[in-house]
C-alpha cells in the first residue's frame, strides 16, 4: 500500500493564507476557500491534486469534499497537471471576429499539440477560454497573471520564444509585477 501524500503550505504561503482568513467575520472562514485554492495551485505546480486540495481543506478546517466541489466548479482551477506556461487564448465573439482562431491554429502548429494538450517537454499547455474582458484589444491570450493583447502571429511567435527561453513557470502569484502604463 502506498503512503498517502500529504502536502503543506510553506510558512510564507501559510502566513498569506492566515491574513486572508482574517478578512471575514468569525465563523465565516470558508469564504477564504477560493483565494486559498489559488495559493495552493500556485505553490503546488500549477494544478490542484487531491493532496493539494486536502491541504487547503485542512488549513480551513472544512471537509475535503467542500474543497473538491468548489475546485471542480471554477475554470481557473486545473484538476490535471499542466505545463509550466499555460497559454489561454480567448475564443469568444470579439476575439473570434479579430482572428483568435488563427492564433490558436498557429500555436497548435508551432507547439505541435492540439488545444487542451501539453507539450512533451512540459513547457506549454494550450487552452482556449471564454471572454477575458479584453475585447477592445483582441485577439489576446493570458499566461499566468499577464494579458498579452492585440496579438498578431509574429507577436505570438515572439512571446512563445521568449517564454521558452525564460523557461520559468508562470502562475498567478502575488510576486507578479504590476506593469501597466
Amino acid at each position: 500500500m502506498s503512503e498517502k501524500t500529504i502536502l503543506k503550505f510553506s510558512d510564507e504561503t501559510a502566513a498569506i493564507a492566515t491574513k486572508i482568513v482574517a478578512r471575514y467575520p468569525e465563523g465565516r472562514h470558508k469564504s477564504a476557500l477560493i483565494p486559498l485554492l489559488h495559493l495552493a495551485q500556485a505553490e503546488f505546480d500549477g494544478w490542484l491534486s487531491v493532496p493539494a486540495m486536502d491541504c487547503v481543506a485542512e488549513f480551513l478546517s472544512i471537509q475535503p469534499i467542500e474543497a473538491y466541489e468548489v475546485a471542480s466548479f471554477y475554470s481557473m482551477f486545473n484538476l490535471k497537471p499542466v505545463g509550466k506556461c499555460t497559454l489561454e487564448v480567448c475564443r469568444t465573439s470579439s476575439c473570434w471576429l479579430s482572428g483568435a482562431e488563427d492564433i490558436v491554429r498557429h500555436l497548435e502548429k508551432k507547439l505541435g499539440i492540439k488545444e487542451g494538450q501539453t507539450t512533451a517537454d512540459g513547457m506549454f499547455t494550450l487552452k482556449t477560454v471564454e471572454c477575458l474582458g479584453s475585447c477592445g484589444t483582441a485577439p489576446m491570450l493570458q499566461c499566468g497573471g499577464d494579458y498579452y493583447e492585440n496579438l498578431t502571429l509574429e507577436k505570438t511567435d515572439k512571446l512563445v520564444d521568449s517564454l521558452r527561453a525564460e523557461g520559468k513557470a508562470r502562475v498567478y502569484t502575488n510576486d507578479n509585477p504590476v506593469n501597466i502604463d
Binding site: 470579439s94 471576429l97 475585447c135 507578479n176
Partner: protein, 449 residues
C-alpha cells in the same frame, strides 16, 4: 465633446496613485459626505440622480438601496460586483486599472450611506493583476486614514477587501456572487429573499456594479440633480461603453446617454467608423446576451427615428425590432461577418458557463451549441433553424437566474433578423457572403458561357 465625469482624468499620468488622485480632486466627496451629510441624505441624492445599475439590468440604484433591511444588531454589507464577464464588456477593468481610487472612494461612500462596516470587491479571477492594483490602492487608502477606524475623524469605520474569483461567468449574477464569496460553487439562489433582506452570510446586502459605485462619487460631489441633468429621458448621466469588433478605434468610451448610435459608430470621437472601409452589418449593443440588430435597425428605430445610446431608445420596439443597453458591451460586425459563426461562439460560451442547476439551461445551452456546431460543419438541415427557435423559447423564463434568458435571446435575435443567412449557410454548407456569392455566381456564368 461629451461630458466626462468618471473618466475625466483617466489619462493623467500617475492617477492610479493616491497623491495624484487627490491632487485632482480625489476623495473630496468623503470630506463632504462624512462631515456634512447623513447616510439618508446620500441615499436621497442617489435617488434624485436617477442612476441605474450599470452592470446590465439597469435597475434604479437609489431604489435598490432603499430596499435594504436594517434590523438592529445585524451587520450589513456592500459588495461590489467586479466580476465583469459579459462578452464584449471590459469597461470595469479599464476603470479599475486606471483609476482604482475612484472605485474605492465610491465604496466608502456607499458603505457609509448603507451602514456597512465591512465591504468586499468581488473581482473575476482572470483580472488577477487588476486585483493587485486595487489592493495596492487600498493599502494607500488605509495608510492615509481613508479606510480603517474613524475615517477622517468622522467616527465611521470601514474595512474594505478584494475577493478574487476563479473563472465563472455565472458569478456576475448577484446571488451566485454571494455564494462564491461564501466559499461555495457559484449556483444562483432562488429569490426571494433578495440580497437586500438576506444576502452575504444571510445579512442584508447591496450588490452593485463597479461603474455604478464609481458614479456615486460625482453624485455626492455635484449633487443628484446635477447628475440627472445629464442624459435623456430616464437614462440619466453617463455610461461607459466598451466598443469592440470591426471598428477603427476599439476601446472604452464614456458617453452622455442619448448620443445617436450612428454618431457613436462613425464619429472620430468614438469608434471612428468600420475597419478597412467596410460596411456595417450588425451590432450587439449591450453585451453578448442582448439581441443583435442589423444595420437598419441599430441606426434607426422601426419607426424611422434615429436610434440613441439610451435605455429607452435601444429598447424601442421591444425585442421584435429593438435591443437593450445592457452592460454597454458594443460589438460591431462588418459586412463579411458570419452571423451563424458568431452565434456559435455565443452558444458555446453559454453552454460552458451554465452552472448546471436548472435543466432547461443546462440541457438547452448544450443542445443549441451542438446544433450550431452541426450547421457550421455543413451537416445542418433547414429544420434545425426551427429547432433552435423552439429550444431557446423553452429556456427563457424557466430558470432560477437570468443566464437562461442571456443564452436564449442571442439565438432568438439572430434567427429573427438573419434567418435567410442561416438557411443559405445550411444549403451551401458554408458562410455565404452576399457580395462574394454574387461574384462567384458571375464567374460561374462566365465559365458556362
Amino acid at each position: 465633446m461629451g461630458k466626462k465625469i468618471l473618466l475625466a482624468n483617466d489619462h493623467i499620468e500617475g492617477i492610479r496613485f493616491l497623491d495624484t488622485y487627490r491632487k485632482h480632486g480625489g476623495y473630496a466627496s468623503l470630506e463632504k459626505a462624512l462631515k456634512s451629510m447623513t447616510p439618508e441624505q446620500i441615499v436621497e441624492e442617489v435617488k434624485t440622480s436617477g442612476l441605474r445599475g450599470r452592470g446590465g439590468a439597469g435597475f434604479p440604484t437609489g431604489m435598490k438601496w432603499s430596499f435594504l433591511a436594517k434590523p438592529e444588531g445585524v451587520p450589513r454589507y456592500v459588495v461590489c460586483n467586479a466580476d465583469e464577464s459579459e462578452p464584449g464588456t471590459f469597461k470595469d477593468r479599464y476603470l479599475m486599472e486606471r483609476i482604482p481610487h475612484l472605485l474605492i472612494e465610491g465604496m466608502i461612500l456607499s458603505s457609509y450611506a448603507l451602514g456597512a462596516k465591512t465591504s468586499y470587491i468581488y473581482i473575476r479571477g482572470e483580472y488577477f493583476y487588476v486585483a493587485r492594483i486595487l489592493e495596492q490602492a487600498i493599502d494607500e487608502a488605509y495608510a492615509a486614514g481613508l479606510l480603517g477606524k474613524n475615517i477622517l475623524n468622522s467616527g465611521f469605520d470601514l474595512d474594505l477587501y478584494v475577493q478574487i474569483g476563479a473563472g465563472a461567468y455565472i458569478c456576475g449574477e448577484e446571488t451566485a456572487l454571494l455564494e462564491s464569496l461564501e466559499g461555495k460553487r457559484g449556483n444562483p439562489r432562488i429569490k426571494p429573499p433578495f440580497p437586500a433582506i438576506a444576502g452575504l452570510y444571510g445579512c442584508p446586502t447591496v450588490v452593485n456594479n463597479v461603474e455604478t459605485i464609481a458614479a456615486v462619487v460625482p453624485i455626492v460631489n455635484e449633487g443628484g440633480a446635477a447628475y440627472a441633468a445629464i442624459g435623456v429621458g430616464n437614462s440619466k448621466g453617463t455610461k461607459l461603453i466598451s466598443a469592440s469588433g470591426h471598428i477603427n478605434k476599439p476601446g472604452v468610451y464614456e458617453i452622455e446617454l442619448g448620443v445617436p448610435v450612428e454618431e457613436f459608430i462613425y464619429s472620430d470621437e468614438y469608434c471612428g467608423g468600420i475597419r478597412n472601409g467596410k460596411k456595417l452589418k450588425a451590432v450587439v449593443a449591450g453585451g453578448s446576451s442582448v439581441p443583435i440588430l442589423p444595420t437598419e435597425l441599430i441606426l434607426n428605430t422601426a419607426a424611422g427615428e434615429p436610434r440613441l445610446m439610451s435605455y429607452e431608445s435601444l429598447g424601442d420596439g421591444g425585442f421584435a425590432t429593438g435591443t437593450m443597453l445592457g452592460s454597454g458591451g458594443f460589438i460591431v460586425m462588418d459586412e463579411d461577418t458570419s452571423i451563424v459563426k458568431n452565434l456559435y461562439t455565443f452558444a458555446r460560451f453559454y453552454h460552458h458557463e451554465s452552472c448546471g442547476q436548472c435543466s432547461p439551461c443546462r440541457e438547452g445551452t448544450g443542445w443549441m451549441e451542438k446544433i450550431l456546431h452541426k450547421i457550421l460543419h455543413g451537416h445542418g438541415t433547414l429544420a434545425d433553424v426551427d429547432l433552435l427557435w423552439d429550444i431557446q423559447s423553452k429556456i427563457e423564463g424557466k430558470t432560477i437566474c437570468p443566464l437562461g434568458e442571456a443564452a436564449a435571446w442571442p439565438v432568438a435575435a439572430a434567427i429573427r433578423h438573419f434567418r435567410k443567412e442561416f438557411e443559405d449557410f445550411i444549403r451551401n454548407g458554408e458562410h455565404v457572403n452576399d457580395v462574394k456569392h454574387y461574384y462567384r455566381l458571375n464567374n460561374l456564368t462566365a465559365l458556362i458561357n
